[in-house]
Every structure is written in structure tokens, then in C-alpha cells.
């Protein structure tokens, strides 16, 4: 199964994503340069972290105009799985594939640390390996990871169970002390209404090797693989062009 890892100028977690995905049996990841225009050969798309275009103007604001983004948007609309981590999440928001926005951390400082997140929704293509309430240890590293959405959007996100991960303490409590960046309602990751586009600020790519402190991130990639396999089986074999 082939995952595309998009390389924007300034992406710096592209190699980490490739290493993490290729570390999972059954998965194979390849770089796709941002000047490319098609993602036809890939089963899923990953937008890695980093500082695409130096984060100039606004995080993700320029990257969304990269040629490859047309393909990302159209494939996402067609139902392909799209994962955006950190800067990738910011780009997905800028591209309108996910609601809300990511603004400066409340501390106004970059923050790099290991955090605990709680799985809020089990039945998503990205987390179905985890039951609701599962705690995942994932590293964060961002200056602009404070998720914000207007009250109406927030209501919708909650109503349609699109909030997939929230920052929690080690006991799984969603408390202000566990919020590393001031995100509204401790939101760490959300999916779109169709549930095939998932953005999160934490780095699953940096949590795919227990030696680095956690291997919880690998669960996300594995879930994606299982979803695609299940969809394929349902569609009655053949190449997986779409996932519903």
C-alpha cells in the first residue's frame, strides 16, 4: 500500500514521516514534490510537519497554493485518506479541507514536549484501532498550534463527533493544565465532516519508535492501512481508488 508524503519547500518532517510509515509492515511511503500535480498512484496522502515556505505570511497560507494542493483537494473530496500533522494540519485548514484555524500558542513561545492526548472518537478511519478514552503519548513541537474555531463551528465539530484528539493529563482528564498551547476545548486533532481528512498538531511520525519515548503514533498509520484494506475488501478487491 502506497502513501504519499508531500514535500513542500520548508517541510522538515518529511523524512521522519517516510521513516515512520516505512517502519510499518505492509506500508510503503514515497516523497511527492510539491510541484507535482497528480496523486493518482497513492492510496493515502500525508502532509508532514515543518515550515512550508518558511511559514511566511501565515502558517500554511502559501503552501496551499502549491501545484500539488489541487490534487490533494480533489482526492480528498473523492474520499482518499489525508493526514496532516503539525504544519500539515495548518495547511489543511488554510486549504479549507478542515474547519477552524491554528494561531500563536497562548504562551507566545514555541513549545516542544511530550504530551498526553485522549482519543475522543473511536470510529474514525484514523483511530479505529483505539477505543474511546485511549491515551496516546505524542510529542508536540510548534509555535502556532492553538486551535481556534468560532462557536458555531465548534458546536458542529462536537455534534458531528469530529474532534478526534484532545490534550489531557496522564489520568485522561481534559483540564486546562494539560493544554500546552491554549487550544479551544483542548482540541489537538479534528477530522472533516466526511471523516477522511484528519489534522493534528502532535507528531505521530515522532512517536513510532518506543526508544524515542512512545510508539503510539504508529497506531494512526496502522489504522489508516486497515481502513483502506477494509474498504478495498468491501469494494470487492481491485485497486483502491476511493474510500468511502
Amino acid at each position: 500500500m502506497k502513501f504519499a508524503v508531500i514535500q513542500f519547500p520548508g517541510s522538515n518532517c518529511d523524512q521522519d514521516c517516510i521513516a515512520a510509515i516505512n517502519g510499518i509492515a505492509g506500508l510503503h511511503a514515497e516523497y511527492v514534490w510539491h510541484k507535482e500535480t497528480s496523486l493518482r498512484d497513492f492510496d493515502a496522502i500525508v502532509l508532514p510537519g515543518g515550515f512550508a515556505y518558511g511559514d511566511y505570511l501565515r502558517c500554511g497560507a502559501i503552501a496551499r497554493f502549491s501545484p500539488i494542493m489541487r490534487a490533494v483537494v480533489s482526492d480528498a473530496r473523492a474520499g482518499k485518506l489525508v493526514l496532516g500533522t503539525c504544519n500539515g494540519f495548518q495547511i489543511l485548514c488554510e486549504a479549507g479541507l478542515l474547519p477552524g484555524a491554528l494561531v500563536r500558542n497562548r504562551s507566545l513561545r514555541f513549545v516542544c514536549e511530550m504530551v498526553t492526548t485522549r482519543v475522543e472518537v473511536a470510529n474514525s478511519p484514523f483511530m479505529h484501532g483505539c477505543s474511546e478514552g485511549t491515551l496516546l503519548r505524542l510529542p508536540i513541537a510548534h509555535g502556532e498550534g492553538c486551535f481556534f474555531a468560532d462557536p458555531e463551528t465548534l458546536r458542529q465539530l462536537n455534534r458531528d463527533r469530529q474532534v478526534i484528539l484532545r490534550y489531557s493529563d496522564r489520568q485522561g482528564r481534559i483540564v486546562p493544565e494539560a493544554n500546552p498551547n491554549g487550544s479551544i476545548e483542548n482540541i489537538a486533532g479534528i477530522c472533516n465532516h466526511e471523516r477522511n481528512v484528519f489534522g493534528l498538531m502532535p507528531h505521530p511520525d515522532r512517536a513510532s519508535d518506543a526508544r524515542l519515548g512512545s510508539a503510539d503514533g504508529a497506531k494512526i498509520f496502522r489504522s489508516m492501512m486497515e481502513t483502506i484494506n477494509a474498504n478495498r475488501a468491501e469494494a470487492g478487491s481491485g485497486p483502491a481508488k476511493q474510500v468511502a
Binding site: R109, F110, C112, D205, D209, L212
Partner: protein, 803 residues
């Protein structure tokens, strides 16, 4: 614009701006002595023009030529079985780590720019050292930094050594904080964006660094042997490419600026500080590495200090060739730049590439892919000249080899300060400091005071702003003795640390230099690594002052002796002199960055206790060297020596024993005793990021064979708790392994003492028949939140894990 002068006046450039005449005054303004000017005339066989004067000025500055320090640097050991590229040969030294893999690493200072403009000064320091590494064909894997600032907490202390500085006004504290936070943000800005983790380092605060902070940045990269790239212009007729950012007027003659003292007027030198763009450097980095993998490059050199000037003449000199470039073809940020400005600009994110003839299209294709400017600006020639054309005219023409290699070398006068001469009586054995004569203070409070001291306190406020997890290799994160990094594609585990106790060096530079090397090696040993090699950053004052030069010489000799003993050659580094502000000279700081190799993942060890019930052992002796200690400085306001001495043979014996215990799988944690002594080291061992531990220890030796007890009890209690004697490592071991551990130490003839065990929620220490108890949560809060409180407000504190 004032460029309306008619064309008839055209000098060497096309814009009609006449170059000033070369007068003795102008020569002096360029930091060149009359003798040096004579030498220039001899090399050229004529008077230099203004542009050439500028070229000589930067190339013969201390920053580029090491003219005052080179003779001393020659004393450092530079060879070893693992050394692939020696110090001084290239931009960075290269060391073999086996299986076809090598590492390139180097440390460099950006002190002066950071003093004037902390954010950009520090940021471009990071950018510069990263370029030095990928110039070698290595992929940069991680950075460390070693920083020194004036105090950031407002306690007023009258240090006898600094009588003229007396009371600190609020403004100095505020300035120090501004410099500190600015430098930290600058490092974070550049390192985080380019995606190279900053995984460790050290930070000290001391009055001597007021107005002249030290910002030393280290970078390490990994490469295959066959990828090694050279900075030589080889192959007559090969095309010379300029790649990277356009040249602007920033950082004009920064190397010259860095080679003089900081004064009140230095603020006006802000144009000498460059402005960095980590995004551009990321593109440049990827494009260069992609190109180097294509066998299209004959030589490559970054444009750092002295920019285009240094890169062209150095590559020509190394290649034994000449080089000819045309400034009209150089990509420029603004019109109207003179040859002088183009050649001396230190605009960032630029490289010079000597391509193989016929491979021009490969170069263009790759830089086009990454949208990085790229221009063919000249050729390699065979006449040994660095020839700079500007359209039709010749702007400069200088023999390359003499320019780079015939800078004058000086041996400056060296004279020890009076105080040191006093300690050195009686055959070098220092006179003792009598702790009994110190005013009585509360030792219970003293430990808390030490843990709150920003030099000792946790640096989490800083390292949480650095991305230390990108590139997914950081196994031991910042906070332990040494950072440990796993290079996945090479399957190698590296450990790295930077160390220097500036106070020891101020009191006795030779011993301080030795101690810096010993501590760096000890930190690596504690993490389970075998030390490999060293890069050093020598931060000293104006070398024309005999006392400063004496410090430099002594420190270098101390470092040389220790590096020989440890078998860790110096692979290069950086010399930063003129570290003086109107307030005085900095404490001499020969920063040692040391890299080691860990053979097996199972040997990776951290400093924190792991389980209740584990036995705590001190490898080494309790010691009694209170001189130069943080205890004297922080609790008594005295910067007094003599500092502790390292017995290198003894040190190596202890380190080898501890490393072998680690390899045997007997050690759960290992931590070296440094600033703040044994009491601080024990407290730090308790601060496991996953869970706080308590301990119950007895320093009077009740756990050890009788005999020692008597001796310890006669000691001064603060000396027992806080002395900074060298060669001490606190280890913990499972109770089941205790006997085996002790018998190995005995076999090795290593002095040791069983101190007690892990457990409870207090730090309980019995010393000199007195029992001290501190709730571990209080100590942790002091240590963890001290810097945050100093910078934000008194009530700011971060949650404490597992309490």
C-alpha cells in the same frame, strides 16, 4: 540615492562612486597595523586599492586568520586513528564512526553579533555552523549550544573580584534578560524552522558576561566516507557557481567587527550583524546535498565570515590554483553595491560551488528545482591569483595563497594575574581555602538557593522552545548529562555534550581547561558512551593584554594535556577573542564540545534514579575542594579559588570503571558531580521527568567499611555537601547487583562509597552527624521553575509531574 556622479568619474565600479584613497588612517580603521600594511604591499608588489584593503582586513582579522592564537592552537592534539579530516584542513573536522559512516562536527561562536542584536546574532550563528557541516557533504543531524549571560536575577552581591562593578542596577538585569531571551528565541527560530533538533548544551550566568554574552553553537552531521566534500578549487577551467541568497549590504565586514572589543559605540555596528532566513537555508541545504550526491562537484565552500572573499581565496589556496570571478554576475539584493561591499558582505545562506566542467546543467537543474538562485560567476584558473572582475574592470587581484596563509602570526606577551601567581607558590600546589573561616549560613537553605541559581536550575524554559524531537533520533532529551542521538539510517548512537566552567578558568585557566575536558568526557561516560573527539570554542579577551593572552595559553595547554590523556583529538573549532565590554573582560571560557559513541542501545544511561530501593554509590571520593564552587559564589558572594584540580589518570580510571559497569548492565543511573557539588548532584538524580524520587543517604560513611567514618566526620559540613572536587560519579544499581558492582569497583581499585538508597519523598542526607531533610517536591519546584519565575513573574510555575 546619491548616484548622480557622471560616468567619467567611474572608478573600479560602474556606479560612479569613487573609492576612498588608501591612507594610514583608513588602514588603521581596517584594523591593520602599519607592519601588516607593509606586508600587504610586499605581497602585491604595489599599494592595495580600497577593495583589496578590505579583503586583507577581513582575511587577516583574528576571526579568519587566528593570527594571535594559531601558535597556541598548534599545541592541541589533532591526530588519531579515527580522524579523517584534521583540524584546519576544511570547514569542519571529520571522524570515522565505523561501517563506512563518518561524522563532521564543529562549534562556532557568534558572541559579538549577539551582544548587539541577540535574536539575529544567535540565529545566524546557528545558520553559519549548519552550513559548515553540510559543506562537508554531511547531513546535519543535531545542534547543541553553550551560552553565557550576565545575571538574570536581581540579587545584589559584592564580588571582591569585581569591586568596580558594585551595585547592579535594575537596567543591567533587564538588559541581561533581554539578551538571554533574545538569544534563545533566535536559536529557536533558526533551528526549529530548518528542522535540525537542538538537543543539549549548557547555560551559565555570571557578572563577567554582562554586555558581552557568549553564544557558541555546535552542529554535527553524518556522511558516508565517499560523500566527503572538499572546499578546494580544483580542475583548471572548472566553472565557479554562486548559489543561495542574493548578496545584500548586511553583515559588512563582520569578521573585522568580531575582532575588536565591544564598546559603547558598538551599537552603531548593527549593520555588521547579518539577518538570517532559515527557510532559504533549508532549501540551500537540501539542494546542496542533492547536488553532492550527483558527482558533479569538484569543491564546495560556504560563505560565512568574510563572505565571497573568504570562500574564493580559500578554495583557490586549498586547491593550489587560482580563481577568477565577475561581480557583475553575482545575484544582488539591491543596486549600486560597490565591489568592496559585494566582497565583504556577510549576507547569509550562500555557498560557492566549483562544479565539474560539463556538469553545469546538473547544478542548474537542481537549484532550479529548489527555487534557489544560482549563477555561474567565474572559473578556476592556473595562475594562483584571486582575480575579481567587475564587468570590464579588475576590482582586485591578489595572490590567493599568501592572502590566506601568510597572515602574520603573533606571539603576544603573557603574564599571569597577581592572585594566580600567589596560588601557584610552592611548586604549583595551590594554597588552601579555609572553609572554617566562612560566615555561618543555613546549609538547609543553601541547597535550595543553589538549586534556584539560574546556572544550576533546570533549563526547561529554554529547551522547551527548541525543537529537540525533529529528525526522530533524540533518545535522551535535554536535561541529562549528555544528549543521546540515534542516527537511524546509519544505525549509530551518538552522545554529545558541551562543557566549561568559566569560573574555574578565571581562577586557574590551565586547571579549568583540563576540568572542562574531563567533565565533558565524564558526561559522555555517564550516558554510556566512549569519548571520540573534541571541538573547542576559545572565548577570551583582547589578546594584546598580557593577562588575557596568558589565560589563553594556559587554557590551551590544559586542554591539550587532557585531550591527550583521554585520547580525544581536537578536530577543529573556533577562537573568539576581544570578548570585552565596557564593564570588563569575560571570564575565560574554552568551551569543550565532545562527541562519543554508544555501542549498544542497552548501554544508554540517564542521570535519574529509576526505582525505589535501588542502592546509591558514589564512585570517587567525597572530596573537599570548595574553591571556585558555586556554593562560594552563590551563597557567599565569593569568586575565589583555587578551583578543583583534576588528576587525569585517576579520572580516567573512574570513568573506565563506570563505563564498564554500565556495559555490564549493572548501572541504572549515572550522574556526574559538577556545579553545586554532591548535594546538588543527588537532588538532580531525584528529578526523574517521569516521577520524582526521594533518597536516604549517609555521607559519613556508615554504609562503607569502618575507618572512613572518622575521617569524614571531622570535615566541615558545607564542604562535604557542596565541594566540587572532580572525578565523582553518582550511580544507582538494583539491590541484587550491589555486591557485584562494589566488587568490580574494588577490583579496579576505584575509591567508592555506598551512600544509601532510593526511596521516600524526601531528600535526606546525613553529613557530619547532622541530618538534613528536604521535601523533594520543594526542591524540584525551586529547580524546575527558577528561570521561568525570573523571566515571567514570581507566581509563574509549571505543573509538577506525579505529585
Amino acid at each position: 540615492m546619491t548616484l548622480s556622479t557622471p560616468k567619467d568619474f567611474a572608478g573600479p565600479d560602474n556606479f560612479g562612486v569613487l573609492d576612498p584613497a588608501v591612507t594610514p588612517k583608513l588602514v588603521a580603521e581596517h584594523g591593520l597595523t602599519p607592519e601588516e600594511f607593509e606586508r600587504i604591499k610586499k605581497i602585491l608588489g604595489r599599494e592595495p586599492n580600497f577593495t583589496e584593503l578590505g579583503i586583507f582586513s577581513v582575511m587577516w582579522s583574528e576571526h579568519c586568520s587566528y593570527k594571535n592564537s594559531r601558535r597556541e592552537l598548534k599545541k592541541l592534539p589533532t591526530t588519531g586513528p579515527n580522524i579523517l579530516v584534521k583540524a584546519g584542513e576544511e570547514n569542519a573536522g571529520v571522524v570515522d564512526i565505523g561501517d563506512g559512516w563518518a561524522i563532521a562536527f564543529k562549534i562556532e561562536s557568534h558572541n559579538h553579533p549577539s551582544a548587539i542584536e541577540p535574536f539575529q546574532g544567535a540565529a545566524t550563528g546557528v545558520g553559519g555552523i549548519i552550513r559548515d557541516i553540510f559543506t562537508m557533504g554531511a547531513r546535519p543531524e543535531f545542534c547543541l549550544n553553550s551560552l553565557r549571560f550576565g545575571p538574570i536575577v536581581g540579587q545584589v552581591c559584592n564580588l571582591p573580584a569585581n569591586k568596580d562593578r558594585k551595585l547592579k542596577t535594575c537596567t543591567t538585569i533587564v538588559t541581561n534578560r533581554r539578551l538571554f531571551t533574545g538569544v534563545v528565541s533566535g536559536i529557536a527560530h533558526y533551528g526549529n524552522c530548518i528542522g535540525i533538533p537542538t538537543i543539549g548544551g549548557e547555560i551559565y550566568f555570571d557578572e563577567s558576561f554582562e554586555g558581552n554574552p557568549l553564544v557558541n553553537v555546535f552542529c554535527l552531521g553524518v556522511l558516508r566516507y565517499e560523500q566527503l566534500a572538499r572546499g578546494a578549487a580544483k580542475g583548471i577551467g572548472n566553472p565557479v557557481f554562486y548559489v543561495g541568497a542574493e548578496t545584500g549590504r548586511d553583515g559588512l565586514a563582520g569578521a573585522t567587527f568580531a575582532s575588536r572589543e565591544l564598546t559603547e559605540e558598538s551599537r552603531e555596528d548593527r549593520p555588521a550583524v547579518q539577518v538570517g532566513d532559515p527557510f532559504k537555508e533549508k532549501l540551500l541545504l537540501e539542494a546542496c546535498l542533492e547536488l553532492l550526491a550527483r558527482d558533479a562537484v569538484a569543491g564546495i565552500q560556504d560563505m560565512g565570515a568574510a563572505g565571497l572573499t573568504c570562500s574564493t581565496c580559500e578554495t583557490a589556496s586549498r586547491g593550489g590554483s587560482g580563481i577568477e570571478i565577475d561581480l557583475a554576475k553575482v545575484p544582488k539584493r539591491e543596486p549600486g553595491m560597490t565591489p568592496y561591499e559585494i566582497l565583504l558582505s556577510e549576507s547569509q545562506e550562500r555557498m560557492l560551488i566549483i562544479a565539474k566542467r560539463g556538469q553545469e546543467s546538473v547544478v542548474r537543474e537542481i537549484f532550479d528545482k529548489w527555487d534557489v538562485p544560482c549563477a555561474e560567476i567565474g572559473r578556476v584558473t592556473d595562475d594562483g591569483m584571486m582575480r575579481v572582475r567587475n564587468n570590464g574592470t579588475i576590482a582586485a587581484e591578489i595572490p590567493a595563497k599568501p592572502l590566506t596563509e601568510e597572515a602574520p602570526l603573533y606571539e603576544r606577551e603573557a603574564k599571569p594575574p597577581v592572585a594566580t601567581r600567589l596560588w601557584r607558590v610552592s611548586g604549583g600546589r595551590p594554597t588552601r581555602l579555609w572553609p572554617q573561616n566562612l560566615p555561618k549560613i543555613d546549609n538547609h537553605q543553601a541547597l535550595r538557593q543553589l538549586l534556584r541559581d539560574p546556572t544550576i536550575a533546570s533549563k526547561n524554559w529554554v529547551y522547551h522552545q527548541y525543537d529537540h524531537s525533529v529528525r526522530t533520533g533524540t533518545i535522551v532529551k535535554p536535561g541529562s548529562d549528555a544528549a543521546v542521538f540515534f542516527v537511524r539510517y546509519a544505525n549509530k548512537i551518538l552522545a554529545a555534550t558541551t562543557d566549561c566552567n568559566s569560573l574555574y578558568c578565571a581562577l586557574d585557566p590551565r586547571e579549568g581547561g583540563k576540568a572542562a575536558v574531563a567533565e565533558a568526557a565524564r558526561n559522555l561516560t555517564c550516558s554510556g558512551a566512549k569519548p571520540l573527539a573534541v571541538t573547542d570554542n576559545l572565548n577570551f579577551g583582547n589578546p594584546y593584554k598580557p593577562q588575557n593572552f596568558w589565560q589563553l595559553r594556559e587554557a590551551v595547554e590544559g586542554i591539550a594535556e587532557a585531550c591527550r590523556a583521554f585520547g580525544t583529538p581536537v578536530t577543529g573549532g573556533n577562537v573568539s577573542l576581544y570578548n570585552e565590554s565596557p564593564a570588563g573582560v569575560v571570564d575565560p571560557t574554552p568551551t569543550i564540545a565532545m562527541v562519543g559513541l554508544i555501542d549498544n542501545e542497552r548501554h544508554i544511561t540517564t542521570q535519574w534514579f529509576k526505582n525505589d530501593g535501588d542502592a546509591i554509590i558514589l564512585a570517587g571520593e567525597i572530596g573537599d575542594d570548595l574553591g571556585g564552587s558555586q556554593f562560594l559564589k552563590v551563597c557567599h558572594g565569593r569568586k575565589e579559588g583555587p578551583p578543583p584540580h583534576v588528576d587525569l589518570a585517576h579520572e580516567i580510571k573512574i570513568q573506565n570503571a563506570v563505563r564498564d559497569l554500565i556495559r555490564e548492565g549493572l548501572v541504572k543511573s549515572a550522574h556526574d558531580c559538577s556545579e553545586g557539588g554532591l548535594a546538588v548532584a543527588l537532588a538532580e538524580c531525584c528529578f526523574n521527568p517521569e516521577k520524582l524520587f526521594g533518597i536516604d543517604v549517609d555521607l559519613d560513611g556508615s554504609h562503607s567499611p569502618a575507618g572512613r567514618q572518622e575521617e569524614t566526620c571531622r570535615r566541615h559540613v558545607a564542604t562535604v555537601l557542596f565541594n566540587e572536587s572532580q572525578s565523582r560519579i553518582v550511580i544507582s544499581t538494583a539491590p541484587a547487583n550491589l555486591e557485584k558492582t562494589m566488587s568490580i569497583l574494588r577490583e579496579r581499585d576505584v575509591p567508592f562509597q555506598q551512600l544509601g538508597k532510593v526511596g521516600g519523598d524526601e531528600l535526606q542526607i546525613r553529613a557530619n552527624r547532622e541530618t538534613f531533610r528536604w521535601p523533594i517536591g520543594d526542591l524540584y519546584d525551586d529547580w524546575w521553575n527558577s528561570i521561568r519565575r525570573a523571566l515571567e513573574n514570581d507566581s509563574s510555575a509549571e505543573r509538577i509531574p506525579s505529585l
